[in-house]
Point group: C2
Chain length 119, copies 2
């Protein structure tokens, strides 16, 4: 049985699975912006942009603050460390797996070549 | 206007946004497995596991091969390189942004301290 632990990765990877939301994160990485600015930049309605910002806010990737009529968005405290670590761990497993296959192929080639010499 | 390019990240991050699918990838990183094995390990119906494997297969994270009645799953050729690179780029933006904020806070503290001395 595999240990199956529900992690907040579900929500963060889902938040990253949309090109507009990734674009918003990159944009906020360059400077804070209002919802209106973001809606303009991504050619989107205010309502549509509010939904995307809401998804990012719920997973801690964005924080917002309303001053007067303007809601300003900033990068949140989440730095995607665990997500980067998961992907890195996966890539190590992947490398080990494919290195293993390379060795099997090499071994088969060596045997074939030896059999060739015998015959 | 921000350049908005639709990338296959949408599908790969969505594929990673489920704990069972991440678990399947880790499991296949340790060795190939049949759909039945995977369904057993994750306490899931065959139909449910087939759906998850289908999602992973469509984005190139898994390949499957049917021999007789058994469909064997292996890791696909996709190594999540671009996804790792996107997250790394984001973390650099994040670091720069928060370092910037640290400097503003330090500057404010210095001014406060100078004002304190003057007063």
């Amino acid at each position: 049985m595999v240990q199956y632990i529900h992690t907040p990765f579900d929500a963060s990877f889902a938040a990253l699975s949309d090109a507009t939301r990734r674009g918003v994160l990159e944009q906020l990485g360059r400077g804070d912006a209002s919802i209106t600015d973001l809606a303009d930049k991504f050619h989107m309605t205010l309502t549509g942009m509010k939904k995307h910002v809401g998804v990012l806010e719920r997973v801690g990737l964005v924080t917002t603050e309303k001053v007067g009529r303007v809601r300003t968005c900033k990068l949140g405290l989440r730095r995607l460390e665990e997500e980067a670590a998961w992907i890195e761990k996966y890539r190590q497993l992947w490398d080990a797996r494919f290195d293993g296959l390379d060795e099997v192929v090499e071994e088969l080639k060596r045997k074939e070549s030896l059999d060739g010499r015998k015959g």
